[in-house]
């Protein structure tokens, strides 16, 4: 019924070009003309598949970030450290770092806020899972819970990457994980 290879090809090629442009120059670099030039797909064809630039960006931002595997090391400390290292690795890769920046900060266009927030929420869900599991095991958890851990990990790593302009190392990730768990009182556990 709808197995036209041309359609599939156009969509994937355009999507890839959008990601490339985000990596190269952020969301602002994603103009339809630039996408057309980079992908080799005619501008008219792009508009045949997406009604507007906003819809194209929404589509890409909502689907481009791969599923985050949930670590299961047996302890909250181990899981949190794994998550921190995973994020540091992601931020060290130009492609995923640019995508994370686009999702986390946007470009000031409120039209993308919904997708961005949804994608952010999905990223955070992994941490919530890990914390919830630790609670069920009876482990102690920081008083500010998963949100506190999220900010204590993503905060410093994002700051390193996007303000200081340097890719965070595994050592930095470990320090962030360390602080996330040991910096404030724990509660709810058998300690």
């Amino acid at each position: 019924m709808s197995g036209d290879l041309r359609v599939q090809r156009s969509r994937t090629v355009v999507t890839t070009a959008v990601l490339d442009l985000i990596v190269a120059g952020g969301l602002g670099a994603v103009t339809i003309d630039a996408v057309s030039a980079r992908s080799g797909v005619a501008k008219t064809t792009i508009y045949r598949h997406w009604a507007s630039r906003e819809e194209l960006l929404t589509d890409v931002l909502g689907t481009a970030l791969p599923e985050q595997p949930v670590p299961d090391t047996g302890t909250l400390a181990g899981d949190v450290r794994a998550l921190a290292r995973g994020l540091a690795a992601g931020l060290s890769d130009a492609r995923s770092a640019a995508l994370l920046a686009a999702i986390a900060f946007g470009d000031g266009d409120p039209a993308l806020d919904d997708v961005r927030h949804e994608a952010t929420r999905a990223r955070h869900a992994v941490v919530r899972t890990v914390v919830e599991r630790a609670r069920r095991r009876g482990e102690g958890v920081p008083v500010d819970g998963a949100d506190g851990i999220i900010r204590s990990i993503a905060g410093p790593l994002f700051y390193r990457r996007f303000v200081e302009g340097v890719a965070p190392t595994a050592t930095l990730a470990d320090r962030a994980a360390d602080r996330a768990l040991n910096g404030t009182a724990v509660a709810g556990g058998a300690q």
Copy 2:
């Protein structure tokens, strides 16, 4: 020699308009036409004082952030907590928050990198001063030093404000300060 009130007035009115626009819509909202419309100063006059949009933004970003007072509570913990609370307060004010975002993240235009980095360095200097003073007192200091503290404070607070979209509270600041100092091994102190 150069006490023309008209010049002074034009410059201040334009500068204020630029700040207003940054608050309202980020660096991207600062177009010369918008500045002219908002300030009531003719576009030609703006160009008589600043050679280009870039020069105008450089000027404003370089001078708009007020000097940060250096806390001196007698202990590193007290000083760090004061700094964290100060930053949280700054991020809770729409005006300074927008300015901090502009300085920290920019808008992708590399032409502003120099000012932004210089302004960031100036902000960080306060933390370095506090840490250096603690070292001279013989206090223990986290192994990753002032940079680690900076990231552990600014990271979570920035994340709260610019990713989660919520103004950080004093409680959040205290937790960040707590984690910044207690999360990782200390060194150099008499303990």
